[in-house]
Amino acid sequence: MNDTKSPSRNAPKAPEAAGADRPQDNGGGLFTGRGLVCVRGGRTVFEGLDFTLKSGDALVLLGPNGSGKSSLLRIMAGLLKPGGGDLLWYGYAVTDDPESHHARQHYVGHLDGLKAAMTVSENLSFWTGLRMGEAPPPGLIRNALDTFGLDHLADFPARMLSAGQKRRLSLARVLASPADLWLLDEPAVALDRESVATLEQAIARHRRRGGMVVVATHSEIALSRAWPLYLDRFAPSSGLAELREDAATALGDGGHKSARASRQEAQP
């Protein structure tokens, strides 16, 4: 069960993935989040968030802007420390071995990490080489570029690419080296229909091979049997009344005024 906090979920239960070997794990799923809390700029964005992902699953993050989709992806990547809760891989805390967690994931954020003065293939070689720990074979780079139709631009400096092409280059990075977990933050932005289809196929292939995907998107990508996660359901209940009470006691107003305030709020 994924979305344990929202009993009125309409999405159908995902059927057992046919023929997939579920590896033995230490407590429910390969990639799990329990009670995750996100605090940004002093404000609690979400709390008590749970998810479970097994091999071949896809998780789609949904919710209005500001609900914490990007933050959740960054927490999953290990870039952001959660304000509370655990992130587990095979039941073991990700924080125990962050370097392994980095080795098993691909993260595509809003920014592309491209250097304008380096060529397309140099950019891709750099990131792939950094992940693999050695300079990648040129054939690998060419294949990844080819999949996203960037092969003819391989020797052009990255500054000459359009926004869509830059995005495709970021996604080519995901294809150039294998990873168990894909974390994609609005990958389809600025992509044309054809490239979106390529992305969908790549994701499907990845899942068939047992990989997992977490995507934050605004509906442009079609994913079969994906689990939705509505982040706004994990927003904290409005702490306005508590906050007013806090401020009242701090300023020495005593209990009377705060009680009056909360009574006023109870009436619409």
């Binding site: 605090v39 700029g41 209005p64 006691t249 701090a250 020495g252």
Partner: protein, 251 residues
């Protein structure tokens, strides 16, 4: 609301401690100044100008002490992420900077008749000046970012980096030939000052410490309340937004 749970407890403690520390500050300051200016002997070499020592030395001690508190608070903030620890560091920095400035200024005023120069680049003076720069850097860093908590965390790291300077200041007069006089208080053989001068020094030091505690509590209280008001405003903006745009259910 876990971020605000501890400050509430702190505010309660602060309300109790504040009147005592204020009273203590005033009393000790009065007592100390009486002894320093009137009831203690003049130096046989320097005459009355030695009385600057009763401000200069405690101020210098406070400069180091406050920085140590700041560094300790920074360590707590980084390791345990205690919300009040960040605020203690932020509130202490200007106080420590003032003490450092007073130490440098009174030292200069004292040094002119004694050494004949306003300033000399020896180890102790230079390292105290560096301490002053670290304080200024800390203050600047806390307000350099749009996101206040980022500034505080960066400042916490800076505070720990600068802590190396503290032992350097303490032992600079032992390690190098400096114009500044060597340690006469905290030494292996015990203090080398006569009681009649030692007592006012200690009283002034206690007075300055009480002053630090008082001002720290006042600043912390102000900081916590500012945060609460800020959070209240944020929640109000959020509420208004939710009224206008009900939850968007989308695929």
């Amino acid at each position: 609301m876990h971020r605000f749970a501890n400050p509430k407890r702190f505010l309660r403690i602060a309300a109790v401690v504040l009147p005592w520390s204020t009273a203590l500050t005033v009393a000790l300051l009065g007592l100390g100044l009486y002894f320093a200016l009137l009831a203690s002997p003049a130096d046989y070499q320097q005459g009355e100008s030695v009385r600057i020592m009763y401000v200069h030395v405690p101020a210098a001690w406070m400069a180091l002490f406050v920085y140590s508190c700041l560094a300790a608070a920074s360590a707590v903030a980084l390791i345990w992420k205690h919300p009040v620890a960040d605020l203690v560091a932020k509130a202490s920095a200007p106080i420590g900077a003032c003490f450092t400035f007073i130490a440098l200024a009174t030292g200069s005023i004292w040094g002119k008749p004694m050494w004949g120069v306003w300033w000399v680049w020896d180890a102790r003076l230079t390292s105290v000046l560096i301490l002053f720069f670290f304080y200024m850097g800390h203050i600047a860093l806390t307000s350099a970012f749009e996101d206040a908590s980022r500034g505080e965390r960066a400042a916490a790291i800076l505070a720990l980096v600068g802590f190396i300077n503290i032992p350097v200041i303490k032992w600079s007069v032992d390690w190098w030939n400096t114009l500044h006089q060597p340690a006469s208080m905290i030494r292996m053989d015990g203090p080398a000052i006569h009681t009649s001068m030692l007592a006012p020094l200690l009283i002034m030091a206690a007075a300055f410490t009480a002053y630090y505690v008082t001002v720290l509590i006042l600043r912390l209280r102000g900081e916590i309340l500012t945060r609460k008001i800020g959070a209240l405003r944020m929640t109000r903006i959020q509420d208004r937004q939710e009224e206008r745009t009900p939850h968007m259910k989308e695929v």
